[in-house]
Symmetry: C2
Subunit: 499 residues, 2 copies
């Protein structure tokens, strides 16, 4: 048996017992088992149900205590009033075999209801006294596309990638992932739907994801925290390494009541959270759409080295909207086209095109063609004065969608150094073919010109934060080294300082 | 020949000449003709092209002067440098036959370019001196689903409905319409892509749409106005009758430059516009998504009588986000559930459900079923203390999408009095079936919980504005009546007052 930490075991367990497994396809206990198999989990699975002998070709055991091999994680899909008995069995089993590391309690009926608070306390007490960690209750549990471990009843497969999500709302996390799956808009590393967070905290999970090699960006849906200090301590360790994108609900007094009855969370004063997010380098999204697209941007694209933006489009209206939005974002500015790039653009564009009004902005107007996009991109993507490239496109009867997408994707792929390249592809599903080809080439696509600017702004803001953090860390290290040298020279004062 | 005003003729002409018609399917002059036919235009069509005898089975004429029947509208799809000659032919023809009422100039290369300003002035001069009105140049022209008149090269058919759009950006107007067409998310009355607005103004079109029986709501994409006063005079006449939803670009200095090179517009100080929009009762959208969904909301749903909101969901996270957003919107408040509604909800919901925390909010939690939604809606849609109903749904493996949509649509259709009922349907295309059924039943669906609140807020804000406007009008009428009576009694003082 591989040696794993409790937190690691929640994502890559060697074995799992599904307590409440069912052979009835209409029941959660069936779907969870089915999705665990279809996600490709290679560990051992032990369905637990006293009324079945085998489910989905897996041998079924009457109780946790009957499983003859080590059990690392228990996934609970039983009625709330049965969970305490199961917890007692887990504790008993751990005493006998010293195997169980964690429980994922998907059942609802705990601190989100006034009547369930005592039950949640008792559940935590039983498991803590047995040194068993708990995710949930009132959640959809874990997905890890690397190990194929999966307790989510609505998601049966997912493309691997660099996004990891921590969500207090399973419905919200699932909404995003199922939406993005349709067009392969994001790749997933890990997803923890953690509901009431009775034991394992966001802070612990953040630290775990910081060191997780396959996680490039962390998305967090948060309603409230019982221990904000620990959360922000952890976040401050994570953000210099990878971005955290945040959607914080329970902002208002009434929203806080809804959150209280949803996951038992105490939402806290929003302005305090807001300030703390900024200090910790956490990117707080203003809207749900911005949250989704910002997470995807970091999953797809590199962090920019600055906030200077070039824009290419043939659609003057959407282009103007995008320029407007950029003007409202402190971390962005339009790039100054260098003379050689400007001249090169002029040499390939028709006279009708608007090159550089305002500076950094190129509108190909009605004169655009698939080939012209390719020529323009091959020039402008080499602009040294720009850190991000934004493009606004939409197909028309005059464009061959496939060729247009191919020209854009190839121009991007041909660049030796990849800077962020973000696209707004309008015309909705009508533009599906273009959008799909660009996303498959690792280019971000969003739906609206203003969203495009907001996402670029979030990327630039994070880039700026990280550069500062790195500089600070270097300065700190230098200071420490100097300090150490000073200590060496005057050991006594060093001792005194240490008091 | 039916007698029509010039403005009316732009939408319902008895005949149109397409100058620059082409038999080459790759050319604009071909697609425009094809789309005019496919939209179902029943008037006479005269293609003009000296090198063709017939295009798409229509007899082609060498020049405008050769058409042997009356020509009401000329659609120009020729190179910019040929437009002045065509304009001269139009003037000449009008002198001979007194028939042409208007020109739609789709060609670009006018005031949006410094070199084209003189050309635009000359075009306007020639047409004005012949009393021919002009839409454009640099535009996609007109669609009227009622008459089937259509000069748009990208839109060949559209469902009839109550939305009319005025847009300075053809790409933007088309983006919205093509996106919405895919899932029949809106019905269209009229669409004017008016580009540089060299002659016919937004103000004139607004007044025209005010009296247009098939227009329920007017959407405007605006970059700048040459005569803002006339625009706001017209808007003030329209908004007490039907809502105007606005997306104003060129907000920033740099956006103004982009707009200047896009449609030759002078954008003007944004704060001034913002205040003027508010005063005139125009709803200004903050984002592109909000603009699109707000137009659709008014097209689909009645104007609310107040801002009291009930929310139904089974998704605690999205529900909380929606409640948060409502708290930020001055025109909305959560409704107070009346005791009989609250009791009735309790009698059909499982104990796990959250009924009224906060007040007006119902979270069915994991215990939801298709039937439960139907039961709950049949109760809550009768709540007298609420003016709008919001619902947040998303399908899962446990819900039969078809049945779920059917239950919701039927519960709505069964209400004798229809108040606004707006839905957020998450899970993207995964939820397509639900979304389509609800939209087909006239129920608005949007994608995100925060958008849902914003749209409801815009509806409530307009309702409030209109109630005030009606009260004011009544008061004015009473005052006028009183005034008239006073005049009657004391004619002299009345005369003095009139000085």
């Amino acid at each position: 048996m591989q040696n794993v930490s409790a937190l690691g075991a929640f994502f890559q367990p060697n074995s799992v017992a599904v307590v409440g497994a069912s052979s009835d396809p209409r029941k959660l206990g069936h779907t969870v088992l089915k999705n665990l198999i279809s996600m490709g989990y290679a560990g051992k699975i032990f369905p637990i149900n006293p009324r079945e002998n085998s489910i989905l070709d897996l041998r079924c055991y009457p109780s946790l205590l009957d499983v003859p091999e080590p059990v690392e994680i228990c996934a609970l899909i039983v009625a709330a009033d049965r969970t305490l008995q199961v917890a007692a069995e887990m504790a008993e089993r751990k005493k006998r075999y010293n195997d169980i590391l964690g429980a994922i309690c998907m059942s609802a009926g705990f601190a989100e209801l006034p009547a369930g608070e005592a039950r949640q306390r008792e559940l935590v007490d039983i498991l803590r006294s047995a040194s068993i960690r708990l995710i949930g209750p009132n959640c959809l549990g874990i997905i890890d596309t690397g190990s194929g471990f999966n307790t989510n009843f609505d998601i049966s497969t997912y493309a691997k990638g660099g996004l990891s999500i921590l969500s207090q709302s399973g419905a919200f996390g699932n909404s995003f992932l199922l939406w993005a799956r349709e067009m392969r808009l994001v790749g997933l590393s890990k997803y923890a739907s953690i509901g009431n967070m009775a034991d394992v905290t966001m802070a612990e999970l953040l630290r775990f994801l910081k060191d997780d090699a396959s996680t490039r960006v962390i998305g967090v849906y948060l309603e409230g925290l019982s221990d904000p200090e620990k959360f922000f301590d952890a976040a401050r360790e994570v953000t210099p390494v990878k971005p955290i994108v945040m959607l914080k609900a329970g902002r208002s007094a009434q929203g806080a009541v809804a959150a209280r009855y949803h996951t038992g969370s105490i939402a806290g004063a929003d302005a305090v959270y807001d300030g703390a997010f900024k200090q910790a380098g956490i990117l707080r999204a203003r809207t749900v759409a911005e949250f989704c697209d910002t997470m995807r941007a970091f999953e797809r694209q590199p962090v920019p080295d600055g906030g200077r933006v070039c824009i290419v489009t043939h659609m003057g209206g959407p282009g103007t909207i995008c320029v407007d939005e950029i003007s409202t974002i402190p971390d962005l500015e339009l790039a100054r086209l260098s003379p050689e790039i400007r001249d090169a653009l002029k040499s390939v564009c028709p006279p009708m095109a608007n090159i550089g009004h305002p500076d950094g902005y190129v509108d190909l107007t009605g004169a655009h063609t698939e080939k012209l996009y390719s020529r323009v991109l091959n020039i402008i993507l080499r602009e040294k004065n720009a850190d991000l490239f934004l493009q606004l496109i939409g197909p028309s009867v005059y464009l061959d969608q496939k060729q247009m997408a191919e020209e854009i994707a190839c121009a991007y792929e041909a660049q030796p150094v990849k800077k962020p390249f973000l696209n707004a592809v309008t015309f909705g599903n009508y533009a599906r073919e273009i959008r799909q080809r660009l996303e498959d080439a690792g280019i971000l696509t969003v739906e609206h010109p203003d969203t495009l600017a907001r996402i670029a702004g979030n990327m630039a803001a994070y880039g700026k934060f990280r550069r500062k953090a790195v500089t600070r860390t270097k300065a700190d290290k230098n200071a420490t080294r100097k300090d150490a040298q000073t200590k060496k020279a005057t050991p006594k004062s060093g001792l005194i300082r240490g008091v």
